[in-house]
Amino acid sequence: MARPVHKLWIIFRREYGVRVRKRSFIIVTILMPLAFAALAIGSGLITAMGAQAKKDILVKDASGIFVQSTTDRDNLEFAFSDKDLATLKETYREEGYDLLIHIPPFDDLSAREHQVEYFAAEKPSITLIERIESVIGRAFREYKIDASNIDRALFDSFRTNIELESTAVDERGESLGSGKMAAIIGTVLGIVMGILMYMVILIYGQMVMRSVMEEKISRIAEVMISSVRPFQLMMGKILGVGAVGLTQLAIWMVLIPVVLTVVPMFLPGAATDMQSMAAMSQGAETIQQMESGAFNMQSVIGEFFRLNWLLIVPSFVIFFLGGYFIYSSLFAAIGSAVDEDLGEAQQFMLPVMIPVILAFFIMMSSIENPNSPIAVFGSIFPLFSPIIMPARLPFDPPLWQILSSIALLLLTTLLFVWLSARIYRVGILMYGKKITFKELGRWLFYKG
């Protein structure tokens, strides 16, 4: 190995080894999937519990429709009373009801609106109101069907489930695949990749910064710089910490699915919660799909493999590396410039964080509308693209956008690593000096 590369390798090995062997690394790496599983299962349980929470509801049904209905009451406990409303209003709480509902008489079969009033000590949740509305609504519908002598089978056949499938084809006439399922998978994958990039940049970028600060504070910097170039030290650290991040991600990618499959087996009743998790993240329509059987594992897997992985995986890696290098080198430069004062560091971190946070918000909006002008701009502008482009990748952005984004990203990465290295080499040996932005700018032009 060439000598400078060999030194870089020695530094890389230490930076990587020291972190990977740390107890905190091992604990976080193992606990994170468990925490993730706990979160998934916990939130599933909570949703399930919330859905099942019984409410005791007293109904004064002046219409006589609801009281006779046999429709499913959606886990709500209804009791009926004929006493006059004023008395009920006085007593319903003492009798242990959460809610009093008054359904006025209903005469006109053609009426499309019917006001029902409720009384409650505590304001009921929107979901509860919607559930009650839907239960009563169903009773009224049934009543109307019967009262109109409509054939029930005929009526049921009026319902048609529409699946919106894309028939878009590319230039070669091949189907681009996708339908709603593809959109869902793309959305989830996009969000996961975008958030992952955001976290990687923040967590590992700042890990690089703290580590550089430590080197300066412990006064090892000058000892090191007498053996290696500042650039080697900086790059060795960035690469080492980056490899730690990749190691952690790789372990999680194996552990999280394993934990998510294994843990629910030991928690009877919790198994279905994964479904409710999925439902939560994908919106209410999916629930109907699940009911109608459209949301089956086969179609998920099918769509999953129809994604252009040959493009997504390498692009993701490139954006990952580009984003990580740009921001971690900036963080390294900041770490080198400040002394032990963390507050001073924060002053310099702010301008670095702003594009990251902006990119995060643009990313979230890009998921809604992956081809909007702001999404396209964000996925090409190199300070944003590492977070936004991965989120857009599952939506088949035009190839020219991906390529120009990558080209810009690579150039910017080189530029920022170079700029940061110039600040770093001066900062790492500078003690007890109050640093300003102007001063940093000056360091860029110092001769070697």
Binding site: V18, R219, V223
Partner: protein, 301 residues
């Protein structure tokens, strides 16, 4: 022959000239003192020699070859601002620094082991750096500085924070290395240590070389013709005009001779007096005096 030769070396920062046209040689195999008040430019100069920074003008030759990026492997540098990775184990840490100096794993291990034996600290191998006292850490740093057997060792205030026992331990090691032919640059503003250790010095003030040469020669050049005379008997009161009594105590006399007067002339004059001479020596200025005189002289100029 010179292990290191600086010719017109200049380093500018935006608002100050840290090193201003400095020229001097460090002869091969010497103990060489790099002296100067705080902020004189010593560290800037060392950073140029260790290739940490480049000079804006002038040239540096290492072993007669223009200084290049391979030379640091033949240099051992103990900076004034020195430290270690606190969380690392001593053995690992030394292995790391030794390998960065170009040693192979086996070579590094062998040398570190033997040096730790020499300093009687073999049981520190598995200890974390943060468990060691400051003085212990200094020993580790010293080992790291010399582990790759450099031809030139640069020590910046090597004894700061060390107790007398460890100071001597390291001092002995410095002498031993020097006997084996290693050239050593010793940067400090502690004159008594320079006086004790160094054969050659350069004095830097305000970025400039203000004094350079062999310690003995410099003292010779800076002597002021002062003699100390130990005596018994009655004090003479009629010395000729060439000699001035600076001070006299019970049995010691300090006499300053005019320029050009030899010690023999003084002795001859004294011998005729009514008292017995017990001791006679020329008082040479201490480096400290020369240092202060030179620096103050510059300040006035």
């Amino acid at each position: 022959m010179a292990i290191l030769s600086l010719q017109g070396v200049t380093k500018r920062y935006r608002d100050l000239i840290a090193v201003n046209d400095v020229t001097f040689d460090v002869p091969q195999g010497t103990l060489f003192g790099l002296l100067g008040p705080n902020g004189a430019g010593k560290t800037s100069l060392i950073r140029i020699i260790t290739t940490i920074t480049g000079a804006d003008a002038g040239q540096v030759f290492f072993n007669s070859a223009p200084l290049n990026s391979r030379h640091p492997e033949q240099i051992g540098y103990l900076p004034e601002e020195r430290g270690l990775y606190r969380k690392m184990k001593v053995g690992e840490h030394l292995m790391y620094l030794a390998q960065l100096k170009g040693l192979s794993k086996t070579e590094a291990r062998a040398r570190i082991t033997s040096m730790m034996q020499k300093f009687e600290i073999t049981d520190w191998w598995g200890k974390k750096v943060e468990e060691l006292s400051k003085g212990m850490q200094q020993k580790i740093q010293f080992i790291a500085t010399i582990v790759h057997r450099p031809k030139l060792i640069i020590l910046d205030e090597p004894f700061s924070g060390l107790d007398p026992i460890n100071t001597n331990l390291i001092k002995d090691e410095i002498f031993a290395l020097n006997r084996e032919g290693t050239s050593i640059i010793f940067s400090t503003h502690r004159m008594e240590q320079v006086e004790e250790i160094c054969e050659w010095i350069v004095l830097i003030n305000k970025g400039q070389n203000v004094l350079h040469g062999r310690v003995a020669d410099i003292k010779e050049q800076n002597k002021e013709g002062i003699y100390r005379i130990g005596f018994r008997g009655k004090l003479p009161d009629d010395l000729s005009g060439h000699f001035t009594v600076i001070s006299d105590t019970d049995n010691e006399l300090l006499v300053k001779a005019d320029h050009g007067m030899s010690p023999n002339a003084l002795l001859r004059e004294l011998l005729d007096r009514q008292f017995i001479i017990e001791a006679f020596e020329e008082v040479k200025p201490s480096l400290n005096e020369i240092f202060i005189k030179t620096v103050n002289g510059q300040a006035r100029a």
